[in-house]
């Protein structure tokens, strides 16, 4: 079984490290975009579409929700499962993300097990 690829869009270095550590330990190939512009280029570009996108809502230069809209606008990326990471405690933001096309969300700080479980669930469904 080929490794599932995950595109991680997260600007916090430490959080990214932890997530990458966790995912790679569990057999995922992680591609990391550290901030909005790189991420935007990746989303718009012609590179391979990952199996899952793990995205922070609050990013410098580009809003996570904005990128979500763009992502969903591209046919190739339309079906990719997107898991939002959000530190925002407000329900309104979560609801907004889900409405814009995110498949699930995890609030920070998250438990490693929970994150893995949700990722796996999303991947199961999209198969």
């Amino acid at each position: 079984m080929s490794d599932k690829s995950v595109l991680l869009i997260e600007d916090e270095e430490d959080v990214a490290f932890i997530i990458r550590f966790l995912l790679e330990r569990n057999g995922f190939a992680v591609e990391h975009a550290a901030e909005g512009r790189t991420a935007m280029a990746r989303l718009r570009g012609d590179g391979p579409v990952p199996d899952l996108v793990l995205m922070d809502v609050m990013l410098p230069f580009h809003d996570g929700l904005e990128m979500l809209e763009i992502l969903r606008g591209r046919t190739a990326w339309a079906d990719v499962p997107v898991l939002m990471l959000t530190a925002k405690a407000r329900e309104v933001d979560i609801v907004r993300a889900l409405e814009l096309g995110a498949d699930d969300y995890v609030t920070k700080p998250f438990l490693a097990d929970e994150l893995l479980a949700r990722i796996r669930r999303l991947l199961r469904r999209s198969r």
Binding site: E12, D14, V15, F17, I18, I19, F21, L22, R25, M58, A87, K88, A89, R90, E91, T107, K108, P109, F110, L111, A112, D113
Partner: protein, 575 residues
Amino acid sequence: MLTKFANRYNFAFLAALFLLGVLYVEGRRTENNLRAANADASRTMARVSASQNILSALQDIETGARGFVITGRQEFLDPFYAGSSRLHVARESLMRTLPDDAWYQRWLARLEPAIQTRVQAGEAVVAAVQAGRPDEGARLVKSNVGRRAMDEVRRFISEFQWHEQRALQARNAGIIDQTTRTRALRLALLVAAGVLLLTAVLAINFHMEKRRRLLIRAREGEARERRQYEFLRTIIDTDENPIFVRDGHGRFILSNRALGDLVDCTPDDLESEAGPSAESLAILQPLLANDPEAHAGAVRRQDAVQLIDAAWQPRWFQVVKRGLPNEGTAAVLTVAVDISQRMRAERLKDDFVSTVSHELRTPLTSVRGAVDLLGSMAKDLPADAVALIEIAKKNAERLLRLINDLLDLQKLEAGQLKLFPAPHALRTLLESSIHAHEGYAVPLSVSVQLQTVPDVIVDVDADRFAQIMANLLSNAIKHSPATGAVVVNAECIGHSVKISVRDHGRGIPKDFRPHVFERFTQAESNDARSKGGTGLGLAIAKSMVEQMGGSIGFETAEGLGSTFHIVLPVKERIG
């Protein structure tokens, strides 16, 4: 209407006028009397002079006759004839001026024959001489008939003159009498009129004085009013909240500087005849709305009325309106408490809270994640390391709980916690809460039991209900002795359900009981298990329960334990 003029001053004036009238009449009468007296005197004079003329005429006749007798010359007849004609004229004049009195008739009756005798004597003499008989003439003259008659005439005339003189004197005396009499009356009248005029003058002065004093008082009153008005103006201008009174026609009867500042005008501009400009009115519109409803004298409040002021800044006001029935047609007082600061502060606080929460959570994510991962590598680590990792994990959890609790409490206090109520079976909710805490209770050898639960449905936000129950349960478990039991019970009371969580711990000390639901308060305890709480749990639980429309409370007995209960409305019963 005429009664307005019926005062004593007008009567006095009329009386004075009457007195003056009397005086005038008196004066006229005297004048007429004098004139009559004058006329009388001149007539008397005429009579007297006529009588004198008669006398002198008779003398001329006598002289002429005598002369003619003596000399026989013609020129002595001139006085005779002249005298005769003069006599005739004088007699006529006397007859004319003689009053129609008995005395004068008698006197005339005596005078006439004497005059006649005298004239005839003269004529006889003259005739005799003319006839050429001078001796006869002389003889006639010597007979003194003429002379005797002349003496008689003279006597009569003198009597007449004397009589006239007396009459004149009497008349004069009479006039003097009359004048003297009326003088007293005139003086009296004059004095009376003078007195009345004096009183009139005094009265006028008195009233003028009174009027002057009233005017002064009125002016003082005006000045006082003006000062009070200025005082009021100063007060309302000092208040930074817009205050104004508007009447039913939309005119600003009163306004203050704060209102003017909203639209960059002065209060005078707003209160002027023309009123504020159309733009100003448009800006103020949110504060002017609902005016007509308020004219009944009732007080109306509106929270958080927003408007954009002349400087394009958003402002928020809490508006209170009251009808002022005595100040004009449908006058309404509006006081707009400026809560812009508060609103802005709240918005800042909201942003702050949400920013802070994000900022706090991010590093916590890393800590928790790292510690979590370390924990999963337990088998590769020395035993000490594992213990340390456990400590880190526990405290990361604690930190996270604290952040969440703070945010919850913040939202509750701002009234911004959103509840998503839905109907749930109470039994289900309680069972899942208890189940969730088994992991906590079992290691502490505490058992959690669910006793009776009525079959009811409650309309609550399931997550928040679980949060409340978690709070009560964790407290109960924390304070239970080993092998103790925590009992959860629910019973229906009227349209509500009372859920109790009972522990058999040491109970709540008396000193702490008033502070149970306060923030950051925890009962003093040496028990290690008590540590780890945030001190916010019950404060949050209370606030949340109350927002759900319920209540929270407790009973406790030292040494026996405590029972915490919440009361919630029941949506419906099943079965």
